[in-house]
């Protein structure tokens, strides 16, 4: 297994120091650890930002400014009883959260997270190992990430259908509707920038936009950017489109019967997906990162902005009905996306 990873990665990375299997392993562990922690921290941020926007304080009592609330929640989730409902399909019910969390993290494998670095020589055993910014720098990176996020829909879908609960079934049906609708818009909206850059690799996208704000693709493709953002919100079940776990209508949708860490895995997956979508939007449309100096801070700021935008919109906007969602997707966004692709093609040909 290690040998396969090694050769694959090496084929696609020529200009960088040698990527070893150890480097990829370290990177994978870093991604898993940091993104899990960031996803936990994301729940804290979400509660805080929503609270501030409603002029509340949010969590305040566990630790300074409620910072240790994440740990308290984590302990609660880990120690809760793992309940499987009586008529549920036991195997699928227990597997479904793992699908959501796993696909979210697999998608992160092909996305640039944190800069390249070499472990200093004085570190025992691992000294001198080069850790790449992308765990697996595929030449079809965007396709892979979008495909993985689309595969993530099996999590909510199977969870909802396996739990023998009417709210779960409705949630699962809505999941299918929402993802089937929005995959089309995601793919079509990102097709126009792909045509401009001529590559599916995130590294090429980054290189194509090097050289300041004026080179960002958002100025050439504002429509694609907005469409991708809307579709991204639908893919991550964020507020204007969070109808699969809409409390007022379907209790908790696909997550109704879940408790404890299985429920927590759905949330870690959702937050990891939010981070992935933010990174894609930042790299594809907002210029991504630069290797020299504090260039990596810029992408963290961009990702932070998109994350904040998701919370901000949750505080500000109401959500749509399922029929409005499908109307918006098939009758408005998809035609716009197609027209955008056609116009981009014509402009490129002329």
């Amino acid at each position: 297994m290690e040998v396969v990873t090694y050769t694959n990665v090496e084929t696609f990375v020529q200009h960088l120091p040698e990527v070893t299997a150890a480097g990829v392993w370290i990177k994978a562990i870093i991604i898993l650890a940091v993104i899990s922690a960031v996803a936990g921290f994301g729940t804290y941020l979400e509660r805080k930002v929503l609270a501030f926007m409603q002029r509340r304080l949010g969590p305040m009592h566990v630790g300074p400014y409620g910072l240790l609330q994440i740990i308290a929640d984590g302990i609660k989730l880990f120690t809760k009883e793992d309940i499987v409902p009586q008529n549920a399909n036991r195997l699928i019910f227990m597997l479904a959260p793992a699908i959501t969390a796993a696909t979210a993290f697999i998608a992160l494998a092909a996305v640039p997270v944190f800069p390249n670095f070499t472990i200093p020589q004085w570190v025992p055993v691992l000294g001198g190992t080069f850790v790449p910014s992308i765990a697996a720098d595929l030449n079809i990176g965007i396709l892979f990430v979008l495909g993985m996020m689309a595969a993530g829909l099996y999590g909510p879908l199977l969870a909802g259908m396996a739990q023998a609960n009417k709210w779960g079934i409705i949630g699962a049906a809505r999941t299918a509707v929402q993802f089937l609708s929005y995959e089309v818009v995601t793919g079509l909206s990102i097709l126009a920038p792909i045509m401009l850059v001529g590559s599916l690799s995130f590294v090429d996208f980054n290189a194509a936009q090097a050289g300041g704000i004026s080179h960002w693709l958002i100025w050439q493709q504002p429509v694609a950017f907005i469409l991708f953002l809307i579709a991204g919100f639908a893919e991550t079940n964020r507020t204007p489109f969070d109808l699969l776990e809409h409390e007022a209508e379907v209790v908790s949708g696909y997550a109704t019967e879940y408790s404890g860490m299985r429920w927590g895995m759905f949330f870690i997956g959702e937050y990891a997906n939010m981070i992935t979508i933010s990174i894609i939007a930042a790299v594809v449309f907002l210029g991504g990162y630069s290797e020299e100096g504090i260039g990596w801070l810029t992408i963290i700021l961009k990702v932070g902005f998109f994350f904040f935008l998701m919370l901000w919109i949750r505080a500000a906007w109401p959500h749509v009905r399922p029929d409005q969602l499908m109307w918006l997707c098939w009758k408005v966004l998809m035609p716009i996306a197609v027209i955008n692709v056609v116009i981009t093609g014509i402009v490129m040909m002329v």
Partner: protein, 207 residues
Amino acid sequence: MGLEQFKNRNVGQQKYVKLELGQTPETPMGKFSQVLRRTFKPELIIGLWVTMREMINALFKGQMHTVKYPFEKLPISPRYRAIHEMLRLLESGHYRCIGCGLCEKICISNCITMDTRYDENQRKEVSEYTINFGRCIFCGYCAEVCPELAIVHGPRYENASEQRASFSLFEDMLTPIDKLNLQQEYDGFGAVSPNADENIKKTPLAY
């Protein structure tokens, strides 16, 4: 904007403004331009700005609404009917109750029990006085009927307890003699709460 115009209850003197709500368009061109206007009106952006404005107000302008309840409390209205208090006369320090028994008589849940006798000066003296707070419905009749303002409702509203039978004796409710200078006089019916001015707000009708 000051509070004066909100406190002005003289109807007819205020300056009311009629909102311009517009007309329903009649012509096809009017309808079309309305659709255009509504489509490109930045309503969603305005919604975003509203929440952002509230966040700025809360974080930087000290308009956070949260009251950290057990640690800080809002002032309650003087009309609030919480646990009873027995007041003393400020001059002599003697309790105000004259033992007339009206509160016991009027109590609709029969939770006040009192007994009186004549002391050596042939004055009525309260020998026994209890209120069963397990029965009391805090209707406020006792405080209303009292001719001497002897029994009033105090500000103590946190009365959760582990005991079901929670009788309160006369001495428990009586102002301690060493805290006589701290005794709060009842403001009277119709009194407003001390933070009434802060609570006056513009009605959000004019969106």
